[in-house]
Amino acid sequence: MAPANDGIGFRADRIDGGAGRTGAATPLLFDAFVAEHRDRAVALAWRLVGGDGAAAEDIAQEAFLRAYRSLHRFRGEAKLSTWFYRILVNEVKRYQRWRWVRQRRAGEVEEEPPDPRPVGGDPALRDRVARAMALLSNGQREAFVLVHLEGFTVQEVAALTGRADGTIKSHLHRALRRLRELLADLEPGREPTP
C-alpha cells in the first residue's frame, strides 16, 4: 500500500503498523489527527443531527474509533480527511436511523434535550433556525450543511454521501428554497419576526 499522507503528519502506513499491536507508536500520530479534526467533526455532526450536542460527540467518537480500526482498509485514493468524514457522515445516518426507529417505537417524537453549553446570539432566533433546519429532509439538510455551511464541493459531498452530483444539487436547491420560505425575514433589509 502506498503511504497515505494527509499533509498533517498522519501516515496511514505508520498508524497501521502500530495500531492494535503494541499501541506504542500509534497514539502520537492518531492524536494529531484527532486534535486536527475533533472540533470540526463534533460541529459537523451537531449540524447534521439537528443540534444535539451529546449525540454529536458520540457520533464523532464512533467515527474516530471506526477510522482507527479500519485504517488498514484505507487505500490512499482520497485524502485521509475525506475518508474520515465519509465515516462520520455514515455514523450520522446510522444515528438518524436508530433515532427514527426509537421514535416510532415510542409512538411520539421525543424532544432532544437542549445543549447545555453556552452559545451566543439571540436564543429565540437560534431556535427558529434550528426548527427550520429540522423541517428539511435528512438529504436536504445534509447537502445544505455540507456545501453551504461546511464548504465542501458538490463532488466532495457526492463522495462523502455516496449520492449522485445531480441529487446533491437537487437537495441544495430545494433546501434553499424551503429555508427562504421559512426564514424570509432573516434576509437583508427585513426585520426578523419573533
Binding site: A19, G20, R21, G23, P27, F30, D31, V34, A35, R38, D39, V42, A43, W46, R47, G51, G53, A56, E57, A60, Q61, F64, L65, Y68, R69, D115, R117, P118, V119, G121, L125, R126, V129, A130, M133, V147, H148, L149, V154, K169, L172, H173, L176, R177, L179, R180, L183, L186, E187, P188
Partner: protein
C-alpha cells in the same frame, strides 16, 4: 411548472447573506479546553480497550480453525500418503466423497501431490497443525 435551473452553488447576494446568517445561528457551541480533554481521554480509553479484545478474537478464531482442522485430520485414516487411500478402505460415506474428490481432481490440471490441490490458506493452516 417552471423549474429553476440555476447552479445551486451560485448564490445571489441576498441568498449568500441568508446562508451566512443561518451558518452563524445554526452552529455548535465551541468545545472548551476541559471538554476537549474529556473527549480525547474517552477516545483514548476506547481505542486502548479495543486492541486486546481484537487480539483475543483473532486468537479464538485461529484456535477454532486449528481445532476443526485437527478434528478432520483425526477422522481421515492415516497409514499412507494422503490421496492414495483406496475408496474401499474408507467407510461408505467417506468412500463416496473420495470418489467425488477423485473425479474433480481428474478434471483439473495434473498436480505433483495431493497437497497442491488444497487451497493455499488450508495448506498454511495444515502445515501449522499437522506435524509430519
Amino acid at each position: 411548472m417552471t423549474h429553476d435551473r440555476r447552479d445551486p452553488m451560485k448564490l445571489a447576494p441576498d441568498e449568500q447573506a441568508l446562508v451566512r446568517r443561518i451558518g452563524d445561528l445554526y452552529a455548535a457551541p465551541p468545545l472548551s479546553g476541559p471538554h476537549r480533554a474529556r473527549f480525547d481521554a474517552r477516545l483514548a480509553e476506547r481505542v486502548g480497550a479495543r486492541a486486546p479484545r481484537t487480539r483475543a478474537l483473532v486468537g479464538i478464531s485461529f484456535a477454532a480453525v486449528a481445532a476443526a482442522s485437527f478434528g478432520l485430520w483425526m477422522v481421515v485414516p492415516r497409514g499412507g500418503t494422503p490421496g492414495v487411500d483406496t475408496p474401499s478402505a474408507l467407510p461408505a460415506p467417506l468412500a463416496m466423497a473420495a470418489q467425488d474428490d477423485d473425479a474433480i481432481l481428474a478434471m483439473m490440471e495434473p498436480i505433483a501431490s495431493a497437497d497442491e490441490a488444497l487451497p493455499e490458506d488450508y495448506r498454511a493452516i495444515a502445515d501449522l497443525v499437522i506435524d509430519e
